[in-house]
């Protein structure tokens, strides 16, 4: 079975939480609760805690609203992954989900645009989108990526992987400095 090896590797990579499945409202609440108590336990600084909490909310709500099923068969679950871990300098939030192929270019452009901006430019862009975009039925109106980049103060790490003619896999890693 080798569960010990798996445990050891989770220990060594400082995994706080690792989840694969459908992100529901209940799961979001539970993960936030777990994360809050873990950060309280290590007495993480208030400002860092808030950033992590904020970014985690955005990440999970992205999964909640935008994760697709792997195939056209709608009876499948909208499986996604979420993992939280840390090292000496950073906390990391990684997410993965299926996304319709047709939605890939727009998301890629959005992230690349966000990554090309410095802090002041990001803030300006945030104001612009806040003011101009209509509220979509999923609520986010594209502010999510800008907000995560702004709050983390780091570039967003991402990848798209071809899966089938229907979807791709979108992987995102956001890091937050402990300072």
């Amino acid at each position: 079975m080798d569960i010990y090896t798996k445990f050891r590797s989770m220990m060594d990579s400082h995994i706080i939480l690792s989840f694969k499945g459908e992100i529901t409202s209940d799961i979001i609440s539970m993960v936030l609760q777990i994360m809050e108590s873990k950060l309280d336990a290590v007495q993480e600084r208030g400002a860092v805690k808030k950033k992590i909490f904020n970014i985690l909310v955005e990440c999970m709500q992205n999964l909640y609203h935008h994760a697709e099923t792997e195939t056209v068969d709608e009876s499948n679950k909208r499986s996604a992954m979420l993992e939280l871990y840390f090292d000496d300098d950073y906390y990391y939030i990684t997410t993965g989900n299926f996304i319709k192929n047709e939605d890939v270019p727009r998301l890629r452009d959005r992230i690349e645009r966000v990554n090309s901006l410095n802090r002041d430019e990001l803030r300006k862009y945030y104001r612009e989108i806040l003011d101009n975009n209509r509220i979509s039925n999923k609520g986010g109106a594209d502010l999510g990526m800008i907000d995560m980049a702004k709050k983390s103060g780091q570039k967003l790490d991402y990848e798209f992987t071809d899966v089938n003619e229907w979807v791709s896999f979108f992987g995102l890693k956001v890091k937050i400095a402990k300072k």
């Binding site: 409202s25 979001i28 609440s29 936030l32 600084r45 208030g46 400002a47 808030k50 950033k51 909490f53 904020n54 909310v57 955005e58 709500q61 909640y64 609203h65 803030r123 945030y126 104001r127 806040l130 003011d131 975009n133 509220i135 039925n137 999923k138 609520g139 986010g140 109106a141 502010l143 999510g144 907000d147 702004k150 709050k151």
Partner: protein, 126 residues
């Protein structure tokens, strides 16, 4: 008109909007998945309030966290109040942030810029 009081939860803010005093307060967290469901009644109340508002309206905003889908609705609240201001009445936004939360302070400045309402941005000592 009736006042609007909504108890806060772990996901949604506490709302206490008083039509007769013109003091409106929103505090706590706003991170629901379905923001429309929460904010729609709030905006409807404000639409009615805009018609009967007195000379002075103060809105106290002291939010610990809010998600980006709430941020649009917060702007919508301010837009409703901009209407009241445009009617020649006084409106003031008091935006509170915990003193180590620079992000929340800047967000206040962003809203001040975008909404066109007068803001007081106030640090709360912890």
């Amino acid at each position: 008109m009736d006042n609007l009081v909504i108890e806060g939860t772990k996901q949604t803010p506490h709302i206490d909007f008083n039509a007769s005093t013109g003091v409106l307060s929103i505090s706590g967290r706003s991170i629901p998945e379905n923001t429309f469901e929460f904010f729609n009644p709030v905006l409807q109340w404000l639409d009615e309030y805009a018609g009967i508002a007195g000379d002075e309206t103060v809105i106290n905003v002291s939010l610990e966290y809010f998600n980006t889908s709430s941020s649009k609705y917060i702007l919508e609240i301010f837009k409703r109040l901009k209407g009241v201001l445009n009617d020649g009445k006084d409106v003031l936004v008091k935006w509170y942030y915990e003193e180590d939360d620079e992000e929340m302070m800047e967000t206040g400045e962003d809203y001040e810029d975008v909404s066109g309402l007068p803001f007081e941005i106030i640090a709360i000592e912890e």
